[in-house]
């Protein structure tokens, strides 16, 4: 690996955590809990750093100019992480809109803004369907939540697909396939990379003892 995935315990720990959660979001097709404290904390830090940068007036001192530019670049990088994290979650909401609409228990994993976004988007899309197509059909055929055979409209991908997991902490013995009649366990140590079913790996993502690659 080009860089260490060791947990960095310093003021940039939150940036590191946000990056891990962004990769988690990108690598799995599941609705993960919204990291509100992390996002709000970093957004506030960015605002504070922005005010520091604005206070640094133009100077002929090369060192000061360099420090200002470095702070601004760091600010842009952290802002990119925040925006990409929020964008990735919005994309998932858009992809799994009708699944979310059917399973409202999943809404507890969304932020209040994302919940509002889901409701509004559902309204926009269903209005578009009405205008373009459904209004021309008999009234009994205008609902969207009908099943076509065994396929409900909108469904998450297979939760048993394999994912690569990096253990940030000692995890210990893990049963690799709980549904199988043959019990198989592996021991996961800190720093190891393993390939597991997502349904098994999920709990370790949620308590941040591991993250996806």
């Amino acid at each position: 690996m080009e860089e260490s995935y060791e947990t960095k315990e310093d003021i940039n720990d939150d940036v590191w955590r946000l990056r891990k959660w962004l990769v988690n979001e990108k690598c799995c097709n599941d609705i993960l809990p919204y990291q509100e404290e992390l996002v709000t904390g970093l957004a506030d830090l960015c605002q504070f750093q922005q005010s520091l940068v604005e206070q640094m007036t133009e100077s002929d001192d090369f060192a000061l100019v360099l420090v200002k530019n470095l702070k601004e670049l760091e600010l842009e990088r952290i802002r990119y992480l925040l925006k990409e994290y929020l964008r990735t979650r919005l994309r998932k909401i858009e992809s799994w809109l009708f699944y979310l609409w059917r399973d409202k228990e999943k809404w507890s994993l969304l932020s209040s803004s994302e919940t509002e976004y889901t409701k509004q988007l559902h309204q926009l899309i269903t209005s578009h369907f009405e205008r373009s197509f459904l209004s021309g059909l008999p009234e009994k055929l205008r609902t969207i939540d009908e099943r076509d055979g065994d396929n409900p409209p909108g469904n998450l991908d297979d939760m048993d697909e394999f994912v690569f997991l990096y253990a940030a902490k000692e995890i210990g013995n893990v049963t690799t396939d709980p549904s199988s009649q043959v019990t198989s366990t592996i021991h996961i140590r800190k720093g190891e990379v393993v390939c597991l079913r997502y349904s098994v790996a999920k709990q370790y993502l949620l308590d941040e003892s591991a993250f996806l690659l």
């Binding site: 803004s113 926009l124 369907f129 021309g136 008999p138 055929l141």
Partner: protein, 186 residues
């Protein structure tokens, strides 16, 4: 054969990697077919007083119903996939450029979707429609593709005339790059 129009609609979109024009005729034909099948299904059920014990009657009723659902699913998938392609096509504010390829309903949906994203950005106080790529550097060299007039930067006003080169802060010109007015050189 029943379902051919719906199959053609999905195939028409599947074959194209970009966004083809909205096929209103095919959608209308699918709607017509669904309505015809629905009338036949209702007439069939009324003729046997909803008694589907006879396998021939039950089989025919199921066939009509399944074709109706399949046609409906194809059209909804067509509409949804077109929305995803329009969303991913980049700059949505220049909807005029998509005039020939989109229906009136799609234009309305895109305008409302843009507004929804803007409202979400206001709520979280983070503009999610900017910084689409990881920032490589603070400053960028750009060439002006179309006249943009004058913009204010922290170093003063900058006149962006066509074919001129400028070395500017990325955050000042990101929107103009997204809209195609400026072309990054480095």
């Amino acid at each position: 054969m029943y379902g051919d129009h719906a199959t053609a609609l999905v195939h028409h979109l599947y074959k194209s990697s970009t966004l083809p024009p909205y096929n209103e005729d095919l959608v209308r034909q699918v709607v017509q077919e669904i309505n015809e099948l629905y009338i036949r299904l209702v007439q069939l059920l009324e003729s046997v007083n909803n008694d589907l014990a006879d396998p021939k009657i039950g089989g025919t009723a199921i066939f009509f119903h399944r074709v109706i659902l399949r046609n409906k699913r194809c059209v909804l998938a067509y509409l949804l996939d077109r929305f995803y392609r329009l969303r991913d096509s980049g700059n949505l504010s220049s909807v005029d450029q998509l005039d020939e390829h989109t229906s009136a309903s799609e234009k309305q949906l895109l305008a409302e979707y843009e507004q929804l994203v803007a409202t979400y950005s206001d709520n979280v106080q983070i503009d999610v429609s900017s910084s689409l790529y990881p920032p490589q550097a603070l400053f960028l060299q750009v060439k002006v593709a179309k006249d943009c007039g004058t913009i204010m930067t922290e170093n003063g006003p900058v006149h962006l005339r066509k074919d001129t080169l400028h070395y500017m802060k990325r955050t000042d010109i990101e929107l103009l790059i997204q809209q195609g007015y400026l072309l990054p050189i480095s």
